[in-house]
């Protein structure tokens, strides 16, 4: 499947702002897509599309904060940079509490926005890489037999083969064989790596 290009999405009802942001992003070598309203963006939004979102707070119809709420309901993880000419502290706090990546007041320097966009894109890249990694780990976990999974869970808790054998009521030799299969299927080079994989898919509380 062809990968979608990393894109900066811009949602602002002001034509002049949209155009100037598009030109600015282009000058920095970034691909952008613009929308004049929240509805227009949401109707075309594809969560698989990597990138970040530059979102105006005040727009007719659905506001930027309402759109952020809608994206949260959809489970979207795209980093959102709010821009506004009429920001205040309660508004900024609300946006950040709901997971905004940043909140920038107009007028801002071009470089200020570009720096934030770059940081947001980096975060999106990192997040997607982590997601792919945990997806691969989950696939490997799914390939384990029920007994191998039991052995894995106990080994990951730090139990020695002898203790695992005792817990499962099998011989130590059987545990060793299951453990070897687990290491092979999970593509883990060491116990530490195996534990790291388990923590990546189910971090401790």
């Amino acid at each position: 499947m062809k990968e979608l290009p990393q894109t900066v999405f811009v949602v602002d009802d002001d034509d002049a702002v949209r155009n100037s942001l598009r030109l600015l992003l282009k000058s920095a070598g970034l691909i952008s897509e613009v929308a004049a309203s929240a509805q227009e963006f949401l109707s075309n939004y594809d969560a698989a599309h990597p990138g970040c979102l530059v979102l105006d707070v005040r727009m007719p119809g659905m506001s930027g904060l309402e759109m952020q709420h809608e994206l949260n309901l959809r489970g979207a993880t795209i980093p959102v940079i709010f821009i506004t000419g009429h920001g205040d502290i309660p508004m900024a706090v609300e946006a950040m509490q709901h997971g905004a990546f940043d909140f920038l007041q107009k007028p801002f320097r071009d470089q200020e926005l570009l720096d934030r966009v770059q940081r947001a894109l980096s975060r999106d890249t990192e997040y997607r890489a982590r997601l792919r990694q945990t997806g691969r780990i989950r696939e490997r976990l799914a390939s384990l037999s029920p007994r191998e999974r039991e052995v894995l869970d106990l080994v990951a808790q730090g139990k020695a083969n002898k203790m695992v054998a005792g817990d499962l009521g099998v011989s130590q030799r059987t545990v060793e064989i299951h453990r070897a299969h687990v290491m092979q299927k999970m593509e883990a080079g060491s116990l530490a790596e195996l534990v790291r994989m388990m923590m990546a898919v189910a971090p401790p509380q």
Partner: protein
């Protein structure tokens, strides 16, 4: 140095939980800190550590209910202090008091782990509501 703040005789407003856990107001002996302490005068369990070490020690204790950063305790942005407090107590509600309309500082505080930011002059109602909610 650490001082207990006078209750102002409104202890009956507090729940049992509020009586046990501590509201830590971190700040210098500034007018802003005094404003915050006045706003929280209805709570009996307010302490006011005036050194960074004491504030962090209190924030890291199991008895901490919430932390209100009224002022920085050193000549640096609040962000580092916030990060240190957050590392000590991951789930501790932390409120930062900022200058009015300083959106950039508010955003920075939120990015560094503040639960909420309240601008000065602090609205007594907002501050008390946030603190009460945090103590529940």
């Amino acid at each position: 140095m650490m001082r207990s703040h006078d209750s102002g005789g409104s202890a009956d407003k507090q729940s049992d939980t509020e009586r046990v856990r501590t509201i830590i107001v971190a700040g210098q002996a500034s007018e802003r800190t005094r404003e915050v302490l006045r706003a929280l005068r209805g709570f009996t369990n307010v302490i006011w550590p005036t050194s960074l070490e004491a504030a962090l020690a209190q924030a890291g204790s199991g008895n901490a209910g919430c932390l209100v950063i009224a002022d920085d305790l050193r000549e640096e942005p609040i962000d580092e202090f916030l990060q240190e407090a957050r590392e000590l107590q991951r789930n501790l509600p932390i409120f930062v008091i900022t200058d009015p309309d300083d959106v950039a500082e508010a955003v920075s505080a939120m990015r560094h782990g503040a639960t909420a930011v309240i601008e000065i002059p602090p609205s007594y109602a907002v501050l008390c509501e946030e603190v009460s909610r945090a103590m529940q």
